[in-house]
Amino acid sequence: MVQAPVAMDQFAILEERLKTVTRVMTSKAPIAQTPKELVWTLNKAKLYRYVPAVPEKDRHRVPLLLIFALMNRPQIFDLRPGHSFVEYLVGQGYDVYLLDWGVPGPEDKDLKFDDYTLEYMPRAIRKIKVLSGVEEVSVLGWCIGAILTTIYAALRPDDGLRNLILLTAPLDFSQKEKLTFGRMTDEKYFDVDKVLATFGNMPPEMIDYGAKALKPVENYIGNYLKLWDNLDNPQIVENWHAMNTWVRDNIPMAGGAFRQLIVDLYRNNRLMTGELVIRGERVDLSQLQANLLTVIAEGDHITPPCQSETILAKVGSRDKEVYRVHGGHIGIMAGNAAHKRTWPHIDQWLASRSN
């Protein structure tokens, strides 16, 4: 008789927990909430300018452009209020822009790195210069966004690029034994042309599978156990919800760019060997003159540190620095410790070079 209310309590708690799990797994969290305005478009690409939060006299002079990878949405830069890199930067007085590549359709299957680096990026940067009234710009590229910014910086050193920040940049593909993706996409086992002939663009489900398969237990089991174990902690639940919303929202990668990633980079390492040709121009990394900060995630299983370390010896920049952070590919920027370690370091480095 006495035990009944206790058992009822347990059922009520369990019911509440199940409700929370259902909510966060079946709904989308409100992400990318920092106020912004659309200032330029080309095809599917959109350039946004974040509404400044600091008076003009206190702002840094040089604007900052954020560029993310091609197969995920860039909302990871602005995950949720109180936990957003963009919100942090705007608060620190930067004039922040974001280049969103958009979702490629079947008509974009031939888009290549050539188009992204020599058509879209220079035009977006020109627009930023006009809007900000400053002839210089800083660019931050993350993952494949870092490949694109590196190519652009090497091909257009006189375009006013003052500071270049690379986050978990997969640039060096020489140590093949450390690259799981490299093994999976080896020409012996993976026929990239056949895949693209069937699909046009690289389907998001295949990219998602490839990324999650690198750590199957963590991604398919551990992630959900982490949620279950922390259901009593609203902050962890809301973070998980926001991250899950972003992770599930994958987009296809333009076929031409995917072929270049596999053939030119993963298989032949052409960027580091100086053999990569973009619209007839050879990409010579020694031409890259901008101040360079490369951020390496020590526990990165997608882009192991060996892929980002060697660029420093190749570039022509005189001001260059490597910053190593404990964490994974996404965790260093969107994890719980990002606002204590990675963000302040980037701000500190950039602030002294942005006036």
Partner: protein, 162 residues
């Protein structure tokens, strides 16, 4: 309540041991699976699975695409190829508009540079004005030769304009 008191009054969690065991088991499992995924055998197997899928998907895709194309053409409706072509044209128009935007921005910038010079010229004494004028003329001749021709009235054949 101090931290020590809170710790003392904290009820023991009966699932704690189970969780620890579970996490230890998952860690071992994770390490083994990561090694498996990193192996040549896994790459070979996933490649074979993909090839199998493509071998099944490709023969269906081609006839479906052809049938759809024929059907849409017979119904006099636009096909996906038409939309792809249209999208390409839109992008080209956008590129041209962006080029025009860039040119307008350049012109605006040049005009903004000329304005302060013109106002300074109006304020300057007569002797100084002469030198300013010479400088500006030489600048125009060297920098914006195209605009000099626009300033002159150009005779146009009325018929041609029509």
């Amino acid at each position: 309540m101090s931290e020590a008191e809170a710790e003392a009054t904290k009820q023991p969690d009966p699932t704690e041991t189970f969780r620890e065991m579970r996490d230890a088991y998952l860690e071992i499992w994770s390490k083994n699976l990561i090694e498996t995924v990193n192996s040549e055998g896994y790459a070979k197997a996933s490649g074979a699975a993909l090839d199998g899928f493509l071998a099944v998907a490709a023969p269906f895709k081609e006839p479906t695409d052809k049938a759809m194309l024929t059907m849409l053409q017979q119904l006099n409706m636009p096909t996906s190829e038409d939309f792809i072509g249209l999208a390409g044209r839109f992008t080209n128009v956008e590129l041209l508009l962006d080029n025009l935007d860039a040119k307008l921005d350049r012109i605006e910038k040049l005009l903004a540079l000329e304005k302060p010079a013109a106002s300074a010229e109006a304020k300057a004494p007569k002797a100084a004005r002469k030198t300013t004028q010479t400088k500006q003329t030489s600048l125009r001749a060297g920098g914006t030769s195209k605009r000099t021709t626009i300033a002159k009235p150009v005779r146009r054949n009325a018929r041609k304009v029509r």
